[in-house]
Symmetry: C2
Subunit: 481 residues, 2 copies
């Protein structure tokens, strides 16, 4: 089913109005990680619900309960559910997105007020927190609804929406809700869903659209070394006692080498090496070393081979040392022997790794290495949180539809990518619903999602809206299974 021209024309004609709507959304500082902005996340939920309603979507705000943040008990923002279309002859697509954003302040180094959409007329860039992550894509779907409602055209598929307001802060409450909702069977908002589509990630670069079929999992660890009952003065106690920092640094130095190799026996080895076909896939991706250097802001790639670098991110585990809790972290010099220090590190996981099979290796290794130190301090290792990796079958009608839609809108085939990061809800949907999940990005690799000067290019917003709509038409063209 070719995408109808009147829909594509409508999108072009209504560009300014769409940008205006995005500006309204960006002006609501729906920062989920800051209790002071919690009411704005609620405002944003209402804004989004009213948008859906006005285009004929049946909606529901789901109370996800309360949680504690910075010692304060707070109501969680509601999930915004939506339902439109109930034609048994059509496929049903569940769309996920989020309406909360990362924190942002002008003083962080923004060149524009973060909660105001600033359009650069020369480049067409739309600057503002949430423009790309994830208000632009969410409103992309609203634009599609707007077009069909205004043109009085039926949608080519049935759609279910699940938008959340805590994605940037651990998606609290959402997993439980999804699992409970799925159990309702026929009465579930998710009943009859044939595939899930999530637009909450990015192209690999600034040039080539992408379909994303994999995400790394994560296991986040805390290794605590405790010694004295309180912080000690290094003048008085230096070279009298076993210092927890000395032990912790020794342990942390044994986790990963400067080339990125994981030193915990069995962890790297768990992942089978790529075969020739897979290597070819990475060699063919539209990506250069310069792309990494530009986005990292320095020439610090681990290798000069593009395929190695991409495999490092997409199909290898990685171990990063994040920091130490309990040690001196300020400017200046403090002569303290910290009493209790907690090293924080995480491993990004790829299949067949899971927190379940990696955690025991990590914990045993650290305990064994600590025993070798001969210290009188004590150690405790714990997994703080974890999530399994996800790799989808991209030879599926949903990916094929997205492929054809990309070719139609962008006149080029998409890159097939795996992401280094994690979007835990992806796996929840995949497992709970037992259907294919597609990540269909709208923004570019340089959008700076969690950074200063986050932006979305106007062309990505407008062509992206066409892409989302075209994807639905391509799905609709397929036979209902």
């Amino acid at each position: 089913m070719a995408t109808p021209l009147d829909f594509l024309d409508f999108v072009d004609t209504n560009k300014d109005r769409f940008i205006q709507r995005l500006a309204q959304a960006v002006e609501i500082p729906s920062v989920s990680g800051d209790p002071a902005h919690r009411h704005d996340v609620f405002r944003m939920a209402s804004f989004l619900e009213s948008q859906l309603k006005q285009y004929g979507v049946e909606t529901k705000l789901v109370d996800l309960g309360t949680h504690t943040m910075e010692g304060e008990s707070l109501k969680l923002p509601p999930a915004v559910l939506g339902r439109i279309g109930d034609d048994k002859s059509k496929k049903t697509i569940l769309i996920y997105g989020h309406f909360d954003v990362q924190p942002a302040q002008l003083s962080d180094g923004w060149d524009f007020p973060p909660f105001q959409l600033t359009r650069d007329e020369k480049t067409g860039r739309l600057y503002g927190r949430g423009s790309s992550d994830d208000k632009g894509p969410v409103l992309g779907w609203v634009n599609v609804l707007d077009a069909h409602h205004t043109l009085k055209k039926p949608l080519p598929v049935n759609i279910r929406f699940c938008f959340e307001g805590m994605e940037e802060t651990g998606s609290e409450g959402l997993d439980e809700f999804i699992l409970a909702e799925v159990k309702k069977g026929k009465d579930s908002w998710f009943d009859g869903v044939d595939a899930v589509c999530i637009s909450d990630n990015y192209w690999l670069n600034t040039r080539t659209p992408a379909l994303t079929y994999g995400l790394r999992g994560i296991s986040y660890y805390k290794v605590v070394v405790s010694g004295p009952a309180r912080d000690l003065h290094s003048g008085v106690f230096g070279r009298m006692v076993h210092e927890p920092m000395t032990d912790l640094i020794a342990l942390m130095s044994k986790l990963v080498d400067p080339k990125g190799n994981i030193l915990i026996p069995g962890v790297d080895e768990m992942v089978p090496p790529p075969d020739e076909e897979e290597r070819k896939l990475y060699r063919n991706l539209d990506y250069t070393l310069e792309d990494v250097e530009v986005s990292a802001g320095a020439k610090i790639t681990l290798s000069d081979d593009k395929a190695s670098i991409l495999m490092g991110r997409m199909r290898s585990p990685s171990l990063s040392l994040h920091g130490i809790e309990g040690a001196f972290y300020g400017a200046g010099g403090k002569t303290v022997i910290p009493a209790k220090v907690a090293g924080k590190f995480s491993i990004r996981l790829v299949p067949p790794q899971t927190p379940g099979n990696v955690d025991p290796l990590v914990i045993k290794y650290l305990q064994d290495e600590f025993a070798k130190l001969g210290s009188k301090n004590t150690i405790n290792v714990e997994n703080m949180h974890g999530g399994k990796p996800w790799v989808e079958d991209y030879k599926h009608w949903s990916y094929e539809a997205a492929h054809r839609a990309t070719e139609a809108v962008y006149n080029q085939a998409p890159d097939y990518t795996r992401e280094g990061g994690s979007i835990p809800v992806t796996l929840t949907f995949a497992e709970a619903l037992g259907v294919n999940v597609l990540l269909l990005p709208m923004g570019r690799g340089d959008d700076g999602a969690h950074s200063t000067n986050e932006k979305l290019d106007t062309s990505n917003f407008i062509q992206g809206t066409k892409l989302l709509g075209s994807y639905l038409y391509e799905v609709g063209a397929g036979k209902k299974a």
Copy 2:
């Protein structure tokens, strides 16, 4: 010259009044490290000056200029100078002490309001911030003046006082003042000083008075590893780039081993091993492993040999890893690759080590080890501040006088100790005046100077006052050189 009985009686008789004066001093929260309390440090200077004046001391408040703290330009508290006695036939002793204190809040875990002197009637302990460090000892000298003024007795020596209000915050401005003052020769407040006596440290334990003849020096370092232009997301960049934390942790792990041995070639080796006479000195000190365990609150001594432990603190260098600036330090888990991290560590120095001969070894070693890592990140190593170690000749009339005074007051010979920490002004006086410096502690090893529930035992305050007075009499008994 035996200490006159009327002086000793006066001290016993006026015990409650002395404690009352200490209570007045503790009630002034003269925290030098907190801009909000700066006016209290000034109040404390005035309080002390008026005490000196009322007992016949000529005083002067010395303006030490301004400094910047937490971005605020602040007036430095004045040094309080005092002069009493100008008898050419008597020796002249310069007394140093400080009237500022460490920060303290009930919420830090105090069992008593920190800025109120609480007397435990059972144990005789006087709890309060500054009780032992250093308001107790400073007021000990005031008690001696009080007694002689009230009894209309001449002092056995001429006394000069130099009290400062920034000791807990780097003694800013004091070194410059001392050096400039000494240069004035005959017009200097310090003209004619025969020896310096400082009461600003502690017995080794809770039982045996001590004379302290050595302090370690210090060299404080910052090793900075820089990579990306901004913090990166570990999901997106993990195993693509050289991570500064990985490099820094590798470097920090190569500085000191879990047994306390310094791994930088040439540093430990610089210090000659102790001869049999010196070993004997440490074996004979009134000290047990349990003393360390009690004060550290855990059984974490590096060795089970008391002499080794004491030498580790008093006559060996030590290297402590304090922390990392720029890494994640909060609770919870943040998946960041920090862009720029600065490891902080310091080495306590003993003769013949100085920052001058140790710094080049440290800096070159870190640069060489970094080169071996093969990282594309960059490194910078700098010394943040330093001070030379100090060891005094304890076979000197000033120490001999203190020895006799200790035997007279406490009925036991003092321990001769070296301290692991640093009191930089000690070396300034020793070098600028070219005279012997004695550290004559009043408090016990468990006073908790910089900790919660700081205390001074009533007996240490009262016997300590007698000790200070008796020291002056013993000095006065000697011939003026």
